[in-house]
């Protein structure tokens, strides 16, 4: 049975189910039991599972990541969380030199089943160090799994799979998805890691989105249909490993590709996907592949500077139409009524 719940509630539900199912699952991070409960995602966990399994921590991102690794070597399954991805950058030694390598460099003798939830900020002046979307960095490190859910249902299914995976998994939550609602299955519902999700069938172009960019993409598919363009939308969702089969199969059919990335352009996931598809399907493509990413600049904080910084559904529509030589009138497009720096009227700041 499914019912409509929010993304944050879906995360919370997945954590409850995992901790109930396996007493070795731990949940910790700065603020998990504070009055805000990481945007309500960890609410109720400490009351249910106790202070030994659910706990607030010192402000020590690097050490606490190592603590997760150590506990995981002897059977625990820690789930850590950072309210902004940017703070986790203090833990790169533990992530890259230890977690990602452990299984490999000890010849498969032990493994590191940990999950690190990282929240990506956007808008409302989050600025240069509260809104980085560094999935391509993480995807570059062999041994890590990287996941980006795009909806409440995806969040629940992917988080449960991540927790019970035998490897270190980075679970990147976009702050602008937190209040979205959707039908979500009840109970222990898992989505296999390493698979992309074909959200919408189409015949003329393959659009690959990730995380919040799927929300923007979904807003313009009807408009594009009215222009006579049938889009196939794929949610990448597993950033590493990438489900190349689904991507290649789709582009073989549509012969056109647009990739939507939440990160900045140079060295992006979009770059990697376009490179691979171009190498494999070069002679079959009917147009040069295209991408929409963030500019190669730190994210500014100020209201005016961010106005054109984040690509919108209209930018996607324009890009797709240009690939089909379709000229569109901006007035025909239904623009969002919210200010550009908030995900909707529900968001009143501060972060």
């Amino acid at each position: 049975m499914s019912r409509e719940i929010s993304f944050t509630k879906a995360i919370n539900e997945a954590l409850f189910i995992a901790m109930e199912f396996d007493s070795k699952v731990l949940c910790y991070g700065l603020g998990v039991d504070d009055p805000k409960h990481i945007f309500d995602t960890t609410i109720g966990l400490q009351e249910e599972f106790g202070k030994e399994r659910v706990f607030d921590t010192p402000t020590s991102e690097n050490a606490m990541t190592g603590v997760a690794i150590g506990a995981s070597l002897v059977g625990y399954r820690p789930v850590m969380v950072h309210q902004r991805l940017d703070f986790f950058l203090l833990a790169m030694d533990q992530l890259v030199n230890a977690a990602a390598k452990w299984h490999y460099m000890f010849g498969g003798k032990s493994s590191v089943p940990i999950v690190i939830r990282l929240i990506i900020g956007r808008g409302w002046g989050q600025g240069p160090t509260h809104s980085q979307s560094l999935q391509s960095w993480f995807a570059h490190i062999p041994g890590l799994k990287v996941v980006m859910p795009s909806s409440p249902k995806e969040a629940k299914g992917l988080l449960l799979s991540s927790i019970f995976d035998e490897n270190p998994v980075l679970f990147l939550e976009h702050r602008w998805l937190h209040n979205q609602e959707e039908d979500v299955p009840e109970g222990d519902f898992r989505i296999p890691l390493g698979t992309a999700n074909l959200i919408k069938h189409g015949t003329d172009i393959t659009i690959i989105g990730m995380s919040y960019m799927n929300t923007e993409a979904l807003k313009c598919l009807e408009f594009l249909k009215l222009q006579g363009i049938s889009c196939e939308l794929i949610d990448l969702r597993s950033i590493n490993p990438i489900d190349w089969n689904t991507i290649i199969k789709s582009v073989k059919k549509t012969k056109k590709l647009l990739v939507l990335d939440t990160g900045s352009e140079t060295g992006s996931l979009a770059a990697e996907i376009i490179a691979k598809v171009s190498i494999e399907l070069f002679s079959e493509m009917e147009a040069p592949p295209a991408r929409i990413c963030l500019p190669d600049a730190p994210v500014p904080a100020g209201f005016s500077l961010t106005e054109d910084f984040y690509p919108t559904s209209f930018d996607i529509a324009k890009k797709v139409c240009s690939m089909f030589d379709v000229i569109i009138n901006e007035d025909d497009f239904k623009h969002s009524s919210s200010p550009h720096d908030v995900p909707g009227d529900w968001f009143k700041g501060p972060f």
Binding site: A63, V67, G70, L73, S111
Partner: protein, 323 residues
């Protein structure tokens, strides 16, 4: 202290010395094709801590971990095969000298980046506490690691949670070629800094194997009783270069005289003298121990020589677990 414990400590030091010196002797055969950080001169701590810990106590270590691994009871043949890059190595040739593991004796892994294994040892301690085990986690570090931010973070966390963790610091006064005097304030011993951070700490002579054993045993028993983490600093000295098989006192970062002073405090010679004086050890027994050890080391090198190399196509094996 029982006679057999004293003999065991002595023999273990002889074994560690023989392994390290054999690596040094054979290094120019170019078959051990990885960086090696030898612990010749520092055998007392490895032997004493290894014997004081129980099999089910856990340990993590550093780039200079051969002695810690052997002290804890790690398989010698698999260690040498690892240095040879062979499939029979403890990490199947994927890790080299700096990544040793033997889960059967609780040696959970040594890692190469200074300070890297410190919080991992704390995580092991957390798991032991959650499991209500009376085992402990031992984190081997050097003086350099106490300058890393993660050391301070981990000490704080272990103190806050009262984790069953022993921080075992071998202060050999050098981080590669950089002396302690350029790295840490004068008149501020490492163990005093750690004590100020909230962990009971103690400093001792690291080349006195019997003294180290006694101190470590006392401290471990407090940790087992739930008294929280402890920090032990033992002064010692590495004889050979930071990385590699040679002596390097001629290159100018430390004085030959300093080395000779420490050589007088050779932990094996000190123990030998004491045990002979106490009529526990005879010259005949020394030859016999040397003989047994040489045989064991030769067998380990032979195992490494005989073990096959991992197959080239297996380079993608072990990237992910559970596949």
């Amino acid at each position: 202290m029982e006679k057999n414990i004293k003999l065991e400590l002595y023999s273990k030091m002889v074994l560690i010395r023989a392994v390290e010196e054999t690596i040094s002797e054979r290094y120019d055969q170019q078959k051990m094709r990885c960086p090696t950080h030898l612990s010749t001169g520092q055998e007392a701590v490895s032997a004493a801590v290894g014997l004081a810990l129980q099999n089910k106590d856990l340990a993590v270590s550093t780039h200079r971990s051969h002695g810690h691994y052997l002290g804890k009871g790690g398989n010698i043949s698999r260690m040498i095969a690892e240095i040879y890059g062979k499939e029979g190595g403890c990490s199947k040739g994927r890790g080299g000298s700096m990544h040793l593991i033997d889960l059967s004796v609780g040696f959970m892994g040594s890692t190469a980046i200074v300070g890297n294994s410190i919080p991992i040892g704390a995580g092991l301690g957390l798991s032991l506490k959650l499991d209500k085990s009376d085992n402990i986690s031992c984190i081997f570090i050097g003086d350099g690691a106490t300058e890393e931010g993660v050391f301070a973070e981990t000490v704080n966390f272990c103190a806050q949670k009262k984790l069953p963790v022993l921080f075992l610091c071998e202060n050999n006064f050098y981080s590669v070629y950089s002396p302690l005097s350029v790295r840490q304030p004068k008149d501020r011993p490492i163990y005093k800094m750690v004590e100020a951070m909230g962990i009971k700490s103690h400093q001792g002579e690291g080349n006195d194997v019997f003294g180290v054993y006694k101190t470590v045993l006392d401290v471990i028993s407090s940790i087992r009783k739930g008294d929280g983490p402890r920090f032990l600093e033992f002064n010692t000295y590495r004889w050979r270069e930071h990385c590699g098989p040679n002596y390097d006192n001629h290159i100018g970062y430390r004085a030959e005289d300093e080395f000779l002073e420490w050589k007088k405090k050779d932990p094996i010679l000190l123990a030998e003298k004491q045990l002979i004086k106490e009529n526990i050890l005879t010259h005949k027994m020394i030859s016999s121990i040397d003989h047994v050890v040489k045989d064991e080391v030769d067998k380990a090198f032979q195992f490494a020589e005989d073990s096959p190399f991992p197959k080239k196509e297996d380079v993608f094996k072990y990237i992910y677990a559970g596949v």
